[in-house]
Symmetry: C2
Subunit: 438 residues, 2 copies
């Protein structure tokens, strides 16, 4: 049986999972691929990892370059993370014509063009199924299964930390900070949760998904990003009264010559399948002109689910190496010359439904002042609720709008914020009423 030798750089959580699967399911992988996937090297800057992971001395090094430079290593798996060392190592592997597998969404989303250009110059494959949605095969689905579809849109719950926090706030009525602390206790949130709770991690993934779906050049910087730190149990409870749950959604839609790409807390109806995706789970729906809509759902993070995706990429590349079929699937789903600069629509041009919550003094004429401003900005109200309890001398006024334009909404809220009768910054949450799945 032919052997394919793997060099693993980094033995953190996901790296450890990869070691575990390659070891425990080695015979299974042989039975399926017809190839012996041999873990030739594990590199880690921490020399104690060899003992912790029971890796033989001769298969362990603190020098990642040694792994890449070993002519026997066929596939390089980068599990270091970050955008400096990881990038250099990936480029070094490509320069030797070796295929690379990574879960590094930040690097790919923010510096993907450098990486892709190097891969193409050296005719090497790049696998990154593990970068998006953990074990859900969304990259494979977009690159291969939906190849005959003009993708119209995608909606995803792509960050397990945020979904866990929002689920906790929903189920227990606790504040964001408490829910974040719980997530950290359970290891579902990093000590520095910025990338997750501010929506950047989901946006990194959305940048990759959008390129895969529409054949657009990677564009992270134009994605509109809004995190969940301002979401309160009160807004979640009020959303529930209107039949909605609040999820951090990554949304992209093809709109003529442009693409919508945005990450923000979103109200979706109870009967939308995504509203029932709870805890650390991820899900994504894709709509295409042939399939209609499909949904994938599973663990978006965690040692083994993410490692499962890495091993899937390892097997794919091993099969390509055995058959001399490198480049069989283009890295970003489209042939290089077919990838276009498709602009992202500015968020100000978005038209959607909105939820507003105003804190207003309990005084006659308040509703008229607020709705007057909305009317002047061309925003029409679908329903108003003014039954909440007084809090700090103010009453909450909640409004759901008909389709409105974001630019007008922003102008209106800025004007309302300046009204004397309004005692706190207005809250805005976007609504997706169109059921993204089925």
């Amino acid at each position: 049986m032919q052997s394919i030798r793997i060099g693993l750089l980094g033995s953190g959580t996901v790296g450890t999972g990869v070691i575990k699967i390659l070891k425990e399911n080695r015979e299974l992988l042989q039975a399926r691929t017809g190839v012996d996937l041999v873990l030739k090297w594990v590199a880690d800057i921490d020399p104690r990892r060899a003992d912790v992971l029971a890796i033989p001395r001769e298969a362990f090094t603190t020098d990642a370059h040694q792994v890449i430079q070993d002519p026997e290593v066929d596939i390089v798996v980068e599990m270091i993370g970050g955008q400096t060392t990881a990038k250099d190592l990936i480029l070094e592997a490509f320069s030797r014509g070796k295929p690379v597998i990574t879960a590094n969404k930040a690097l790919l989303a923010e510096q993907g063009s450098t990486i892709l250009e190097a891969a193409q110059r050296h005719g090497a494959d790049l696998g990154y199924e593990a970068a998006i949605g953990g074990c859900m095969p969304i990259v494979k689905t977009l690159r291969e299964a939906l190849v005959g579809n003009r993708v119209q849109g995608m909606t995803g719950i792509l960050n397990g930390t945020c979904n866990y926090i929002l689920t906790k706030i929903t189920d227990e009525g606790i504040e964001f900070n408490n829910a974040l602390a719980r997530a950290q206790e359970h290891g579902y949130a990093e000590a520095d949760p910025f990338l997750d709770v501010e929506g950047h991690d989901a946006a990194h993934k959305l940048a990759l998904l959008s390129s895969l779906a529409y054949g657009m050049a990677l564009n992270f910087k134009d994605i509109y990003i809004e995190g969940i730190t301002h979401i309160t149990p009160r807004d979640i409870a009020l959303a529930g009264q209107f039949g909605y749950r609040i999820k951090l959604l990554a949304i992209s839609k093809r709109e003529g010559d442009r693409v919508q790409a945005r990450v923000h807390p979103t109200m979706i109806p109870f009967d939308n399948l995504l509203s029932n995706v709870n805890g650390t789970l991820n899900a994504v729906t894709v709509s295409g002109d042939a399939v209609g809509e499909i949904l994938l759902h599973g663990h978006g993070a965690g040692m083994l689910p993410t490692a499962s995706a890495v091993v899937s990429d390892i097997a794919d590349m091993a099969r390509n190496l055995v058959h001399g079929a490198a480049g069989r699937i283009p890295i970003l789903a489209y042939q290089n010359q077919a990838i276009a600069q498709i602009p992202v629509m500015p968020i100000e041009e978005l038209e959607t439904h909105y939820y507003f919550r105003f804190a207003a003094l309990d005084r006659p004429g308040v509703l008229s002042s607020i709705s007057g401003v909305l009317g002047e900005e061309g925003i029409s109200i679908q329903s108003v609720q003014q039954t909440g309890r007084k809090s700090n001398g103010s009453v909450p006024i909640v409004m759901l709008t008909h389709l409105a334009r974001e630019a007008n909404v922003r102008r209106a809220l800025a004007r309302i914020d300046r009204l004397d009768v309004v005692s706190a910054r207005p809250v805005l949450i976007r609504i997706e009423d169109s059921d993204p799945c089925c």
Copy 2:
């Protein structure tokens, strides 16, 4: 740009969808695959199809053999169905070393070994993504994405006709026959609905999925199959009172050296994602030792969703042809020598929870007679409900059991059926309480 020429046999619903996608998304497919996928031939026994589908005369024939024998045809797509002509044509294509794509689950499930042996002998690929779950990429997911996973089980809603009928009965309280008539009116059920409503279509798919998941030789004949023709609005309403919905599930589980494989109406809790898969939609969950559980959801039938899966297979094979990589993925997910005869567990050995409904005379001692038999057969009751209205002089007694063994259940129900106080055949519906997803 390299051309790959396709010969399509059969231009029914799915065949028409394939023609449409290849035509309308030809440039998109070029941009993705780097190959021009050319529909060289359409064969149909009905010569009028050429005009109906606006196919040029020189690309249409009533002779499928002519298509297969054309040396320019690279890929043969069999969309004829049935187990006679279709089989002969597939074998003829293989004998010329040509890869074949089919959606013919009945043929594969019942005569798969002949087909597979021929494919292997001639080194030709076989694609059948469209045979299971329409557009859901479940074959690709099992063969490729989950390659590193020891699959533990799968639960699927795999027949859209049955799911539509059960949804209608649930939502409108109508009888099976009326719901079937509605399905037929909408084109969701065949004039002869036997294969669908008796569960055979779902079992065909389950046979394929089980082979893909566990590396077992195809075994359709040992699958336990029970259809939905006996499901009544009364049982659906009673299930609802206990917090369950009734779905036709295809279930397979790895159990030591054997596999459970069964298709039957099943009660699942409301909070199971599958319980919210309604209408003609399909869904399947797969649990594996690394991924935990993942779920795919989408249109399981219909012209374009099914054709989307066919086109995905066409692209995969075109890529293999361009790269000389035929056989890159083994047809049944495992290398031939790794496929084992894994026995299917007889249904009598199943242990699960059960729902029983008895029609009994409204008389003292009835409950004691029934529960006495159950106790003697070692079946313990979790809850009893005896509040229904009288119907034809009988009252309904509904029971939910703790874990019980099917053999004992069958013996007990046969004994209870013979009791004087019981006026109709007892109803049995199996319950799956373990949430198959997440």
